[in-house]
Symmetry: C3
Subunit: 396 residues, 3 copies
């Protein structure tokens, strides 16, 4: 025969000769049972736990969201050191545009009629003085309220303090009302509109569910039990759900999280994908290991006097900041995670025979018989025959 | 020989004797073909689908981003019930600092000269009255506009309503202009600067691409076709891309999402990682199953009269809130996901022989021959217990 | 025996006969060593790299966070073209409520006393005119500052420009102070409160760590070396860490990121889960391929004259916007990822015998001997015997 055909045939043999392991059949119920049982365990784990419980066959995407909020309600305050006043949304919601985070004013220290001028510092160990020598001109004490002019003035009939250049009169935030000014705020309601997207799955949804009609929305109020789908929340209820008392929290303010969980299994009917609301206080109310507890900030309204001088009303606003935090992960069947998990399970199946073999060769009465027939030991023979091997192959 | 050496040799045997399966070679093209073909399928799937299509060999990170926006443009309004007025950025952008979310005022109901005082309620079934008895003092109707004083006053020559203590005059937002006040806003442009980070890969990038020069930026305007890299957007164009008509949406306002997708394959040249802009209306414009459609909020400008009385101009602002939503996932070659996916593929390869065996032992003409030579049955040897085995089996 | 029992027995055989591969033991140290060594490598990789380094046995969750910031400090400015002025938080922090993003005013162009009126345009090629014919009435030049009235007025004694209807006088932002107005801002401090949640693991934590007490918080200041846990940052220090010079950046403003990394391994003691602060400038300071470098925005304070005319003070605010960006991924032992990774490793172990076989049959001196005893070639035989097959089976 020609050489080329020989090569060709060898190649064909190399590629298409199928090499399959020789096997030995053990007709033993016990070994067979151990084998099948172990197999069963692995399969059960894969199907039961990985697929059903953990949904490991799904690929996931995290939520992209936008939020609009709108607060409703008004309050009337009539306390000693302030003229009677009516408050509406424009007064107590800061910033006004309803973003994912809105602040409800509940308490404040107001310092009207401040102007750029000079006045005596608030008395404290570092500001009290006897004469001008105690007050270094131009020195700005970080704990103070302005730049010192170098003079020592009467703060009151009894005490003298250094004069400062600042917005005067200075703010005195020591006597913060113990009872929140806008106690009525607990009855305000907020409408939360939240629309989400899972970009990877091109899935869009709103927290106002399709089956809800406008007439219901005009009257409903959220309640975990009775109205879990209503997007209108009463502030008192939100705090109650978070385990806080509104009147307590309102005095010094705080941050409260409205968490919306959009975790969904998109393999099911999308209608089953609904927002879950939870409420949690986000700042720390415990005074120890804390600084500036509560939540407050200062802002000012600026005016001009008829003479054109600028004056301002400084407001130290205490209140509750509501942060609407949207999170969630959507899962949907994905070929890759499925393959990966099946593969992992398979490789465990490939362990099963080892287990069975081990059992057969150690725990069975007939283990010697089995191993004799299963395992062969290499038999040395004269090297000469090695040639014949190749020939047989050639003439095959 | 000594015992220890015996142990040692046994141990060496135990560890280093290599146990390899005995195999039978079937020189059959058909079986071989089935075997190779199945192998090919698995390999193709792995390489083709998992690696090329799904990029399952990559580990991923999600984007961290910051956004700056700056709106340009001005408008002039000259309508009957308002004096002619010129509007610039400081007037119509709220809040002023260009954050990832900015609001463009397009329509408004202005109520100037409000003061803390008393006035007759707006007439509606629950507020109209005949005499003072109909108005409970101190009662605050949630749907009303203030706290009742207990008097019944003339709202107009024809109708009497309960008097309330509130910011008077009350806002009348019934007659909202049908044509948006700032119709010219559609020609405003917004510059969006977005810089992103993939922390895990320490990858930073901006939506102003390196190859763009300042002169181009001064003149360009975004267009999916001609200028996909220009970060300056005309509002009308944004809404058009979102499938909305500016003049319609401007009347009652709404929320519009500017979605920037930064999904990148960082195994490639980073220059290929570019932002993809899409635009989508995020609020629901359909009046059914909706409440308070559109987007509006109230805010006030506070003034002081020469007598020091506080007055305010209440503005119910309708407009379009633009939310710049940045999302995306970056993928980069990772050793772990690669290993995991290869492993999964391998375990499928280990299935291939089963398939081939099954084919060989069921579909081939010579199946009996094959199975006789491949499979051996346990042969009982002259041993006492050997008989018992078979009998137990026989009498089962 | 009856047929049914026959079937039954066949079925039992089919299910419980255990088929195990026949094996050949090669008592060769070298082959055995290659086998064990390859095994070792795979195991080492799995344990060492996948588990220890990559923690691939963990499932992950990404952080959900809320931030509160509070700036402290004041400044006094005394420059030529502005009356001496004292600045406190309410003046220079915009917006006032300390959100995850706050802006510190460092430089500004103030245009007081603007009213809705008519004035001559700022002179530039497109606005200069000789007589009224050059000014088209009602034309609004995008690069201009208002709607043209059609008149040509004296801007100065030397140059005439078109008159526009706008907020007059017009803002002249050409002469921006070279030295930042609020240079003192570098000494301001900011308190950052950040509380995070990993919803999947129901893990909550704050950046004010449990072991810190309030007295420390009142005095401490962040420093990577000495006080890495103090949540109070000096602005100058933040910029220094970001590699920026405050005075430079303050002139035209910019955006600076305070990145808080909460990546945690929750399998460890949760106390080890601490925030890592890094600082990075987020906008591009290089003038080339950039537009509107720095960071600024316009806002206005509105006043009313005694005659009730509305005037405003337009402020073009330059400053530094600090974005607190919280990110991170928590990992915790998860059964599924563990199984998946073990599975992958196992399927590699199943490759080891192939390696060893290949080595044995190619690199060893005795390869022919080995292959003769390992591999058998199908031997053709007369088909008649196929019957005997079943009989043997029957008589077993």
């Amino acid at each position: 025969m020609s050489k080329s055909t020989g090569c060709c045939r060898d190649f064909l043999h190399y590629v298409f000769d199928y090499e399959t392991p020789k096997t030995l059949v053990i007709p033993s119920i016990r070994v067979g049972f151990v084998f099948r049982f172990t197999q069963l365990l692995v399969v059960l784990y894969t199907v039961g736990y990985v697929c059903v419980v953990q949904k490991a066959y799904q690929e996931t995407d995290s939520v992209v969201s936008t939020v609009t909020t709108k607060v409703k309600g008004f309050a009337f305050t009539n306390i000693s050191d302030m003229e009677p006043r009516f408050w509406d949304v424009a007064d107590y919601i800061i910033p006004p545009q309803g973003d994912h985070s809105f602040f409800v004013l509940t308490n404040l220290v107001m310092t009207p009629g401040q102007t750029q001028s000079r006045c005596a510092e608030l008395p404290n160990p570092s500001t009290t003085c006897v004469d001008d020598c105690d007050c270094v001109e131009g020195y700005d004490d970080p704990r103070g309220n302005g730049i010192r002019t170098g003079l020592c003035e009467n703060y009151s009939s009894t005490v003298k303090t250094c004069e400062v250049l600042s917005w005067c009169p200075l703010e005195i935030d020591a006597n913060l009302p113990k009872r929140p000014l806008l106690a009525a705020a607990e009855n305000f309601t907020v409408l939360i509109k939240n629309s989400i997207t899972y970009p990877k799955f091109n899935f869009h949804k709103r927290n106002i569910l399709p089956h809800i009609n406008s007439s219901y929305l005009k009257t409903c109020e959220y309640s975990r039990k009775t109205d879990p789908d209503c997007p209108i929340f009463r502030l008192r209820h939100i705090l109650a759900e978070a385990g806080e008392d509104f009147q307590d929290m309102a005095v010094k303010g705080g941050v409260l999280g409205i968490l919306i969980d959009w975790s969904c299994d998109l393999d099911w009917w999308p209608g089953k994908c609904r927002p879950k609301y939870t409420f949690r206080r986000l700042d720390d109310k415990h005074p120890d290991n804390n600084v500036a507890p509560g939540y407050n900030f200062r802002f000012a309204k600026y005016y001009k006097t008829p003479e054109g001088e600028e004056t301002r009303t400084l407001i130290k606003a205490y209140g509750i900041r509501f942060d609407v935090i949207v999170f969630g992960t959507a899962g949907k069947f994905g070929i890759v995670p499925t393959i990966v998990n099946l593969g992992a399970a398979l490789s465990f199946l490939s362990l099963v025979p080892m287990v069975a073999d081990w059992f057969m060769l150690t725990c069975m009465k007939k283990r010697d018989l089995y191993s004799r027939q299963k395992v062969t030991y290499l038999v040395e023979e004269p090297q000469t025959e090695s040639a014949s091997m190749s020939t047989t192959y050639g003439t095959q």
